[in-house]
């Protein structure tokens, strides 16, 4: 079954069944809600950001395997990174999902994210994979722009095919 190759790889199922960084933070710098109106995926991202560094991240939400796994992997990829680095990772990931040509392999330290590459072949699921990342982006942009007061919740933005 090609599905097992493309979508339901072992890494993904592992993250789906045992998602990392689940829960919520006591006193987050920002709290961002993301929702995919088309399939009902919802998640809340808690970010603890200080000195331009992502100190901690926690995820609460219900989603499909792709969504849950993507959020879980993302949390591992960005935890401890600088905002700048997080931006780079977000861009790399979005490029892998969205670019027309086949992008070069992910750098070694992000190798795990490769497991999600097959999602590209399933247009509807790309949104599932992207939801956590777009939600993250909104959170760190909100902080950077200074628009977001400490502890504030950013309300659902809507996810589109972009």
């Amino acid at each position: 079954m090609s599905l097992a190759n493309d979508l339901y790889r072992e890494t993904i199922l592992d993250h789906y069944h045992n998602p990392r960084n689940q829960g919520q933070l006591e006193n987050p710098t920002v709290e961002v809600e993301g929702v995919n109106p088309l399939c009902g995926d919802e998640l809340t991202l808690y970010l603890d950001i200080d000195n331009d560094k992502v100190n901690n991240v926690a995820i609460k939400g219900k989603g499909c395997s792709i969504n849950t796994a993507s959020a879980s992997m993302m949390s591992e990829a960005i935890k401890g990174e600088s905002i700048e680095e997080a931006h780079k990772i977000i861009n790399l990931f979005k490029e892998m999902m969205l670019s027309k040509e086949d992008m070069a392999a992910m750098p070694d330290d992000l190798e795990e994210l490769e497991a999600l590459r097959g999602v590209r072949n399933y247009p509807v699921r790309i949104k599932c994979a992207l939801l956590p990342w777009n939600t993250l982006l909104e959170g760190i942009n909100g902080i950077k722009s200074g628009n977001i007061a400490h502890g504030k919740t950013i309300k659902p933005h809507t996810v589109t095919t972009e």
Binding site: M1, A4, L13, L38, G40, D41, S65
Partner: protein
């Protein structure tokens, strides 16, 4: 009874293969497939007599007008309406409901009034009322569902009261498949002087429905769910109620006379059909009615009950699979929502799709109900006249396969 082999030959899409497997289309509650006769009616219109209607004296325009208006007569006959002027063509059921919200409700719903509805309403019969209630300072009041997922009449008798201005309710839930006791509810509402809107989007394609027995003041549905083309819905309304309503959309064809400083409006039903209508698809919708009437709605309903009984029995044999709503096929239609423990419906839908089986997954435009059920979504298989027991068997096999791929993780 239905000759399903013969019926299947009328639907060209059923020849399609997906990943080498025959298409199994169980997403009928979202939209149905179309028989050749409907497709041909549209093609014939474009290839032979396409023209704008009502204001033309030339041959094509006369023919197009005649065909368009004769679809209206077919609708009248199909739903047992008294007069053709009670049939208003819209884009879809959603627009039909919005027409009532804009034209009727904005005249009648006042601060403090109550709009009573079920918690199982489709967003299309929910959001317009939520917006209206907020705008008017009116209140949405929810009926209760019993354990089978049917509106509870005892509690309804307490909820529907003198403040009720509108009762709006689906005749069949597009999530639970349950058939709601619409006539009884309408009677309660009318006793209180309220107006009754019935959302027939899921019921009319599958059950015999008669406006003279339903007890509603308004009835809304979409043709794309009943073998017809996309782009056509209907609002039926009692003539006396429609007569009293101001126009909703305005422009060409809905006017009688226009001056720089005043305007008079056309009579029913045209007063509510502004601009060039969806002529081809209204004509195609007439062909859909002809097809359904030839089958007979009693037969359609009985055949779907048979399929549903079969499917419920088969699904009950799968471990960790929960079906929502009553199991009594006399109280439900041929759509079944379910969930499998540990598997997100989205994943289920995808895996079935690989085997050529189309089901719908997600919130089915019923988020309030999803929240009540405490799920983010369900998987939903919905049947129509061309579906078979063998197709249900294929689905059951694929569901078992999905359980293997994604595994029910006991410890989660």
């Amino acid at each position: 009874m239905l000759d399903v082999d013969k019926i299947r030959k009328d639907f060209p899409i059923l020849k399609r293969k997906i990943n080498g497997k025959p298409l199994v289309y169980f997403d009928n509650a979202a939209t149905s497939q179309k028989p050749q006769s409907v497709i041909n009616a549209i093609t014939h219109y474009y290839e032979y007599y396409n023209a704008n209607i009502h204001r033309g004296v030339h041959t094509l325009s006369e023919e197009a007008t005649e065909a368009y208006e004769s679809s209206r007569s077919k609708v009248r006959n199909f739903i047992g309406a008294k007069e053709t002027k009670e049939i208003i063509f819209t884009r879809n059921a959603t627009e039909a409901i919005n027409l009532v919200a804009y034209s009727w409700a904005r005249q009648h719903v006042l601060p403090g009034d109550e709009i009573v509805l079920s918690p199982a309403e489709h967003h299309s019969n929910f959001v317009p009322w939520q917006i209206l209630a907020q705008e008017r300072g009116a209140k949405l009041v929810f009926l209760d569902l019993d354990a089978e997922g049917i509106v509870d009449l005892n509690s309804a008798a307490k909820i529907i009261g003198p403040k009720t201005k509108l009762l709006t309710i689906t005749q069949m839930s597009n999530v639970l498949g349950t058939i709601m006791p619409v006539a009884q509810l309408a009677e309660m509402a009318h006793k209180q002087g309220a107006i009754v809107l019935v959302d027939g989007a899921q019921s009319l394609p599958h059950l015999p429905v008669d406006m003279q027995k339903l007890g509603a003041d308004f009835f809304a549905f979409s043709f794309h769910k009943m073998l017809g083309p996309t782009g056509v819905g209907v609002l039926w309304g009692k003539a006396s109620t429609l007569e009293s309503m101001p126009p909703f959309l305005s422009g060409g064809d809905m006017i009688s006379s226009v001056w720089r400083d005043k305007v008079t409006f056309n009579s029913l039903p045209w007063r509510f059909e502004a601009g060039t209508p969806n002529i081809a698809d209204v004509i195609g919708s007439g062909a859909a009615i002809t097809y359904l009437q030839a089958l007979g709605m009693e037969n359609v309903h009985k055949y779907e009950q048979e399929l549903t009984e079969y499917a419920l029995a088969k699904l009950s044999q799968i471990d960790n699979l929960a079906v929502y709503g009553t199991h009594d096929v006399n109280k439900r239609g041929g759509l079944i929502s379910f969930n499998m423990a540990g598997i997100h419906p989205h994943d289920l839908g995808q895996i079935l799709s690989e085997s050529g089986i189309c089901i719908r997954v997600g919130h089915h435009c019923c988020q309030p109900l999803m929240r009540d059920l405490n799920v983010s979504g369900t998987a939903r298989a919905s049947f129509y006249v061309y579906n078979t027991k063998e197709e249900i068997d294929s689905m059951v096999e694929a569901l078992k396969e999905a359980q293997k791929v994604l595994g029910h993780v006991a410890c989660k």
